[in-house]
């Protein structure tokens, strides 16, 4: 579904990604793991069009997307749950969800998708008139995921969904990701929480200082001695 080919990117004179290639098949959950500063968020920002690639390209179902601005990439079928959730704090939960359905194709189905997201996350229904800034961390993550789902994307990008949350809430968030998968969504997820993300992913890539160092089935990587020592502290 998604193919990323030889992507390089950076900020000014700082290069963060060096020829990264990866692929995600329909229905898969693929994880990109790596240390802080390895380039994980940069990779997400390139795929969602927030940051232009300086080299290489990427395609969704064979359609090249690297030249499109972010707002056209959403319409092409990629939704991004950004790092730190980035809800609109003074808009209500429901207004945040409305923003997720902004693209014309989603607007037409707004009412039914809203009902579906509320069914998926009943907590959001209780909080629908509340400003998103007043939600707890876990609820905010639900709202951010719900907002991305409103466009019914072919591919869901998730950037560090567990960051900044209490351990118990982290567990809840990974359960949310499991449910998204069960709904049949294709997911590309970036995480520092290596052990838990390998638990829910089919395959994974290890990103190290802007380059893919290792890739394979998630279970395989979870048993890899180097990964266990460097990223799981075992």
């Amino acid at each position: 579904m998604l193919t990323v080919t030889d992507v390089s990117a950076g900020y000014g004179s700082f290069q963060a990604l060096f020829g990264v290639s990866l692929a995600v098949a329909a229905g898969e959950a693929v994880a990109v793991i790596g240390a802080n500063g390895a380039g994980k968020t940069t990779l997400m920002r390139v795929i969602s069009g927030l940051l232009p690639a300086s080299g290489g390209g990427f395609a969704l179902d064979g359609r090249a997307l690297e030249a499109l601005p972010a707002h056209r990439i959403v319409a092409a079928g990629i939704a991004h749950v950004p790092e730190n959730r980035r809800l609109f704090p003074r808009l209500t939960v429901e207004e945040n969800l409305r923003m997720g359905a902004f693209i014309p194709a989603a607007r037409k189905h707004f009412a039914e998708r809203l009902a579906w997201v509320y069914e998926l996350f009943p907590r959001l229904l209780d909080r629908r008139r509340q400003p998103a800034g007043t939600l707890s961390g876990g609820e905010q993550q639900m709202c951010a995921i719900g907002r991305a789902l409103m466009s019914k994307p072919k591919l869901l990008l998730m950037d560090e969904p567990s960051a900044g949350l209490a351990p118990l809430v982290v567990e809840q968030v990974f359960n949310l990701v499991r449910r998204i998968r069960a709904e049949g969504f294709t997911v590309l997820i970036v995480e520092q929480n290596v052990q838990q993300v390998l638990d829910i992913a089919d395959r994974a890539y290890l990103l190290d200082r802007g380059r893919i160092r290792l890739s394979g089935a998630a279970g395989e990587l979870a048993r890899n001695e180097e990964i266990r020592q460097a990223y799981m502290g075992i």
Binding site: H71, R86, L91, R98, M99
Partner: protein
């Protein structure tokens, strides 16, 4: 209660409606595009001239001329954004202030060139109506009601529609608008058109009560900025409330002392409040 004081208070409320409309437009543009249109009141002046010219020279009926004037100023708003603001969107705020300040002088001079410095008006003579013992001019009442309707329409648009929600969202997190599928440039254009349209509506309402001349903007511009700052720049509800506070000060002081003194007092109150609450009366 003193009947004349009551009349002054009523007139203050009626004046507040139009000032609130101007404050809403200026705050909307500041909150969304993050630029202060120093020449905002000069756009009002352009709208007043447009309506006057259409009724006077083209002999249009007043309502049609009003609608055309609103559309014209909305278009002017779009042009201001495209020609003046967009090229300097990323530059220092002082450069943006200087550019829109330059636009103020440009518009004043252009109006002088086109229409001279004569005072012009619609030549309408609307009656004064009697409520018990107080007299209220119908033109002020119409202006007030139309301004409130305009504000209500804006509120419904911003709170109910997808585009209106996007306009509020831009003010909260610019960077991720693209992730929502929103083209930020189009939101800026739409906001500029709405800001212009509000100035156009205010122009039509002011032309019911005042003559237009190239420097009419100076009568409303400074007081509109004062209201916006008092309410907290970018805070639309704060600006709305502040418009009625300032107009009451002007109306009541105008009744007890004189109109000139009332503006002095309004600015003194403004300076004092800004020293006490620099974030605006409703700011956090």
């Amino acid at each position: 209660m003193d009947i004349y004081l009551l009349e002054a208070v009523m007139n203050g409320v009626l004046l507040g409606g139009v000032l609130a409309l101007l404050a809403l437009g200026l705050n909307l543009i500041f909150g969304v595009v993050d630029v202060v249109w120093i020449a905002y009141a000069e756009l009002v002046m352009c709208g007043m001239y447009a309506e006057w010219w259409l009724t006077d020279s083209a002999a249009w009926p007043v309502l049609a001329a009003s609608a055309a004037a609103i559309a014209f100023v909305a278009l002017l708003g779009v042009l201001v954004h495209l020609l003046v603001i967009a090229p300097i969107l990323g530059s220092a705020p002082i450069n943006q202030l200087l550019a829109t300040g330059g636009l103020l002088f440009f518009l004043q001079s252009a109006a002088t060139l086109l229409f001279g410095t004569d005072f012009r008006n619609l030549g309408l003579r609307l009656p004064v109506i009697e409520f018990g013992d107080i007299f209220i001019s119908l033109s002020r009442l119409i202006a007030f009601v139309a301004a409130l309707l305009g504000a209500a329409a804006l509120y419904l648009f911003l709170s109910r529609s997808f585009l209106g929600t996007a306009i509020r969202a831009v003010a909260q997190d610019r960077e991720i608008m693209g992730l929502m599928g929103v083209d930020q440039r189009r939101i800026y254009l739409l906001t500029s058109a709405i800001g212009g349209g509000l100035a156009g509506l205010a122009a039509c309402l002011l032309l019911l009560q005042y003559d237009v001349h190239p420097y009419i903007g100076l009568t409303f511009g400074p007081i509109t900025f004062m209201i916006c700052v008092l309410g907290g720049l970018g805070n639309m509800i704060g600006g709305f409330v502040a418009a009625f506070i300032i107009s009451q000060i002007i109306a009541i002081a105008g009744y007890y002392v004189s109109i000139e003194a009332s503006y002095v007092l309004a600015f003194v109150v403004f300076i004092a409040l800004v020293l006490l609450r620099p974030q605006g009366i409703l700011g956090k």
